[in-house]
């Protein structure tokens, strides 16, 4: 491996630290993107061997969530449905938002796309995206003579 000069512009385009902003990736990946009713909050955490994407989806059924990977853009979409149709006049307070949702994130190039896994529990969607072996940290022992 060569040691090359650090170019901030190049870093922006290549480096995995810069996940895209809210809807940018959605617009670039599917031309027919509809504007969703809401955007669930997301945490993205980098670990040694994987990225973990955590999405808050309280009250959403597992079957109503869709995870899609196309052109290196991870799309989480779906619909949050009311348990049953409730007449508007019966609401004393309505703070929760229902309807369609979508979030898109451009993945760093060096991830193992085949090994992406997801789990949904207690209203939290956890997506594990393993880094490709090439970017996993290596420990090199230095021997002092």
């Amino acid at each position: 491996m060569l040691i090359t000069r650090w170019d901030p512009k190049l870093a922006l385009s290549k480096y995995p630290y810069f996940f895209d902003r809210r809807f940018d990736s959605c617009l670039e990946s599917n031309e027919d993107t509809l504007i969703p009713d809401f955007a669930p909050v997301v945490d993205i955490e980098e670990k040694d061997k994987q990225y973990v994407v955590t999405v808050e989806l309280p009250g959403v059924k597992k079957d109503d969530v869709k995870i899609d990977l196309k052109d290196n853009v991870l799309t989480i979409s779906g619909e949050k449905k009311m348990v049953r149709k409730i007449d508007e006049k019966n609401f004393h307070q309505s703070e929760r938002i229902f309807g369609s949702f979508q979030r898109c994130f451009r993945l760093p190039e060096l991830v193992d796309q085949q090994q992406i896994s997801a789990e949904f529990k207690d209203g939290i969607l956890n997506i594990a995206i393993p880094k490709s072996v090439a970017i996993q940290p290596k420990t090199i022992e230095i021997k002092v003579k």
Partner: protein
């Protein structure tokens, strides 16, 4: 309207609430203690049905044991703490939109509900509270006879 939301940060546009609050804080100091300054304020729906009120609170990622529900002096109080799953250094985060911390929401109950028979269930990140109405306050059907 029987269940009225008690808002610690009421809108200034809602002058009546603001005045109520001012007087409450003068005559009822406990009112002030309930003020939640937490950034995490879970969303709540309250739906009136024939026999009960349904309260739905969004609490994704919480454990059943992290939620406390109590009734005191005609106030239904939902409180607890949303904890991170694991202690993680900030530098590992690419994006942090989720909010953690303690929370409290209070709702004044009317006299027409049975406070002793409130039931709650926690499932898929949603806390469902059922507040049954008293029998005597249930809607009655009166047949109108036309002569």
């Amino acid at each position: 309207m029987s269940i009225v939301r008690w808002s610690p940060r009421g809108s200034w546009l809602d002058l009546r609430n603001e005045f109520d609050r001012m007087f409450d804080s003068i005559f009822n100091p406990r009112y002030e203690e309930e003020t939640s300054l937490s950034a995490f304020n879970p969303a709540v729906d309250i739906i009136e049905e024939d026999k009960a009120y349904q309260i739905h609170v969004e609490l994704p990622g919480l454990n059943k044991d992290d939620i406390k529900l109590s009734v005191k002096d005609n106030y239904l109080s939902i409180s607890g703490e949303k904890k991170r799953e694991s202690k993680i250094e900030d530098k590992n985060y690419q994006r942090t939109e989720r909010i953690f911390g303690s929370f409290q929401r209070n709702f004044r109950l009317s006299d027409s509900v049975e406070a002793d028979k409130i039931e709650a269930e926690f499932k898929e990140g949603i806390l469902n509270i059922v507040v049954p109405k008293k029998k005597e306050s249930l809607a009655k059907q009166i047949e109108v006879k036309v002569k």
